[in-house]
């Protein structure tokens, strides 16, 4: 194993800072963000009720919008998102020591609660945030499945049920978009390409704290009357929703800002921050996945921002983009939503898929099979995904003549998706399959993603879609792809990179218990939902015909097992993080760069700038101990 650390080199984080390094940052953390956010939110509420709504009482759309925007801005002021640009504008830019303070030097665990520019801190912050969001989304899912235990259940009122369905959807969409691009594209990717940090460290911290500020807006919807319109919030149903709808729209607008900032950062980092010798031909596949997913997000997410902005102006200022009675059309919203919505599925999927390919090479001890074809496959998926959105609208009555073209583009996507499977099984072929925990999840990904893919082909073809659209079959299908595929890929990534991120090994025995609960739970849950769909149960119903009872019981039973499995996994992550067995720098014997630096990874990652001489997949080709590092590094 090569060592990257010469004994005498001083670590950057051991720098003794000047006494007042960091300036205002010294006093700012999540708590001050909360305080300033609440204060500004209150001021926004006060001003908008006093001056903008002369004849309407508390709680109008305008008031909610202004309050939520004020909260988001206030929180970010309080946490320190805007310090550096304001100091630059005022003419006394940050000094080197200020920058080191902002990167977390000398603050220990407290830096995890601050606006910290170190990409590893941001990655860890994202990991915790994602786990919290999955906890919230999973709890809501359990409430949905509990409601559906009996046909005429009154566990939840229809209104509450509809709101829970919406917020479950939105929380999970936010969580899955950031579940790999947040923790791993931030923590791992820069080290993988030999960079000291992301291209824009402050934007990196900004992207994290804006998501954090969006989450309270989303959860506030429960106290503002709920969003009973589904996470799709189709117009004109959204026009009937209470003021929670405005908070929901602000959540999305804030979240899109975050995803856009993060996407630009990821793409620019990979394009410009690669170490010497890290050519595009040598880029690890996960890096490609992060870049393609990030770039696709830049295309997709703004459409959501525009759609929700127009929705707000419809509600607040009386425009009529989507209101049919005043000359607008709901189809406009549906188009904008799915122009975001379908590429967004691949924004979620591509990074975990790339992580799965990366992990497979390590645990099959083999080069990635047809790596250039795999990259082509991901680019193909991304390219086609922007041309398929109207397959969600086959049965809406909008442009029936476009059924054929959209069927074509949709079905073409199965070619690049098939390539991913080829590269995966090609890498398994004649490997030395090392069945540690990450590899368990790779096999589960393979199993689930095939089912999700095949059921998607039924939906892409009009005769079957005319039956399955709006039906529980669709729910089962996209859960198989997004949970069974993407989330399981993310679980593999957690198990794989956990030692590097936390310095400790994830407990393998507890991990396998959680694995089997999750694996079996998924199959039972979504077998039940496929059955509901075949039998004809519509989606998003609070009650149902007794004929669907047995399928719902199966699905709910599986869902409880699945959730229990995730809880065991969360317990495992927390307990291993606190007291797990210490991991070395490279417990998996991987050849990518992040495993060649010491654990814990020092600030700015590399003590000597690496020079890359080969790609990271030379398994079986070069002597066991060598890595992709060149002589310059040793």
């Amino acid at each position: 194993m090569t060592t990257t650390q010469s004994a005498s080199a001083p670590l950057l984080e051991d720098t003794i800072l000047e006494p007042k390094a960091g300036g205002l940052y010294r006093h700012q953390h999540a708590g001050t963000g909360l305080l300033v956010g609440i204060a500004l939110g209150f001021i926004g509420w006060l001003l908008s009720t006093s001056f903008l709504q002369s004849n309407e009482s508390f709680g109008s759309d305008m008031t909610t919008t202004v309050t939520m925007v004020s909260w988001v801005i206030g929180f970010n002021i309080g946490v320190g998102s805007f310090n550096a640009p304001i100091r630059w504008l005022l003419g006394h830019d940050q000094t080197h020591h200020d920058e080191l303070y902002a990167a977390g030097v000398g603050q220990g665990w407290k830096r995890y609660f601050k606006f910290c520019t170190d990409h590893k801190v941001v990655g860890t912050q994202y990991l915790v945030l994602v786990m919290v969001l999955f906890g919230v989304g999973g709890t809501l899912a359990m409430m949905i499945r509990t409601q559906l235990l009996s046909p005429h259940s009154t566990f939840l009122s229809p209104e509450t049920y509809n709101s829970i369905v919406s917020i479950h959807g939105m929380v999970m969409i936010i969580a899955t978009i950031i579940m790999v691009s947040g923790p791993f594209a931030n923590f791992v990717m820069p080290i993988m390409i030999g960079a000291k940090d992301m291209a824009f460290p402050r934007l990196n911290a900004l992207s994290f704290w804006t998501v954090v500020s969006a989450v309270p807006c989303l959860l506030a919807t429960f106290f503002l009357g709920g969003v009973p319109a589904g996470w799709t919030t189709y117009a004109p149903l959204s026009a009937q929703a209470p003021i929670a709808m405005d908070a929901f729209a602000i959540t999305i607008i804030t979240f899109v800002v975050s995803v856009t900032v993060a996407g630009i950062n990821t793409v620019v980092t990979i394009l410009t921050m690669r170490a010497k010798g890290m050519t595009f031909g040598r880029l690890p596949i996960f890096t490609w996945g992060s870049m393609i997913g990030g770039a696709l997000g830049l295309y997709a997410m703004p459409a959501f921002l525009i759609a929700q902005s127009a929705l707000i102006t419809d509600r607040v200022t009386g425009t009529s983009f989507f209101v049919a009675a005043q000359g607008g059309t709901g189809w406009l919203y549906e188009n904008m939503f799915w122009i975001m919505g379908h590429p967004e599925v691949y924004v979620i999927l591509i990074p975990p898929v790339a992580a799965v390919l990366e992990i497979t090479t390590v645990f099959a001890r083999k080069p990635l099979f047809a790596s250039k074809v795999a990259i082509g496959g991901m680019v193909g998926i991304a390219g086609l995904s922007i041309m398929v959105w109207a397959h969600h609208m086959f049965t809406t009555g909008w442009a029936p003549n476009l059924g054929g073209p959209f069927m074509l583009t949709t079905e073409l996507i199965s070619i690049p998706t098939g390539i991913i499977f080829l590269c995966l099984i090609g890498t398994l072929w004649r490997g030395q399959i090392w069945t540690r925990l990450p590899m368990f999840f790779v096999y589960l990904f393979l199993w689930n993603f095939i089912i999700g893919g095949v059921t998607g082909i039924y939906l892409s073809d009009l005769p079957a879609d005319q039956y399955f659209h709006g039906n529980m079959f669709v729910t089962a299908h996209f859960h198989y792809t997004l949970l069974g595929g993407a989330m399981i890929g993310a679980a593999a990534a957690v198990c794989f990179w956990f030692p590097k991120m936390t310095t400790r090994m994830l407990n393998e025995r507890v991990g396998k218990v959680s694995f089997w609960m999750i694996a079996i739970g998924i199959q039972i849950t979504y077998y039940g939902q496929f059955l509901e769909g075949f039998e004809g149960m519509p989606r998003r119903v609070a009650n149902y015909d007794p004929q669907f009872l047995h399928a719902n019981l199966i699905s709910s039973a599986g869902a409880y097992l699945l959730m229990a499995g995730w809880v065991v996994m969360a317990y495992n992550i927390v307990s291993s993080w606190r007291s797990g067995e210490m991991a070395g720098a490279n417990p998996w014997g991987s050849k990518t760069l992040e495993w060649q630096v010491p654990t814990p990874v020092p600030l700015e990652n590399f003590l000597v700038e690496p020079i890359v001489v080969a790609d990271a997949y030379g398994y079986g080709e070069t002597p066991q101990t060598s890595t992709q590092l060149g002589e310059g590094h040793r």
Partner: protein, 260 residues
Amino acid sequence: MERPSTAHIVRGILLLTAIMTAIGVALGILLPNHIMPRQMSADSHAAVMTVIVFSVAAAPVAALVYAVGLYSLLRWRHKGAEQPTIDGAPIRGNNAVTTTWLIVSTVLVIFVLGWGLTFLSSAATPHADPLEVNVIGQQWAWSFQYPGTGVESSKLVLPVNREVHFHVSSKDVTHGFWPQELGIQIDANALQSSSISTTPDKLGSFSVRCSQLCGLYHAYMQTKGEVLSQKNFAAWLQANGASASSASRVAVVAQGRAHS
């Protein structure tokens, strides 16, 4: 360690593929007819057939992927928790395999697309003398009007073996008009009429459900439908307020098209 020959591995994987394909094909053929609702039109027949045909077509591909996965676990698994001391075979790709894979997946896509386009073109073929029905969705009920008769009903009653043109619209939010056993579906949009047609070919009752979340009682926005013989349909129209002349004018079709 002695490496088994490629032919040996391929035989093993093909055997596993064959077994799993057989299971997939059997499930694909048997299950859909069993668990999907009764087929009461060519459209619902097409939906079930699509599921069957696509399952059969997808089975070998899925089975091959699963077979390689299973085989890798059975034959290539490294025993023990320690890192393997030797690496796998350094294979970086195989152009013949990649090309074959791409060709096969392209052929499958063309087949699947052709299947859908054939359906689309057959659905577009107009028939003479269809029955017109206006479908109106509102929170949270369906109503059905039979133009020319003055009949409005909360139950969707149709004659057998006659094409029906539905003109679907909504009084408020978007609803999804989904007469399940007829195999068609289209949204009811506010102030906008969309059309869809089908020809019921079986007598009996069916369910009409709403397939778009439409607010508080979305779950209860459902009603029954029934396909009657043409004679009974005319009688039903009269019983529901149509005059004898208008009922016979609307319900009775030109000779040569009536089958019952």
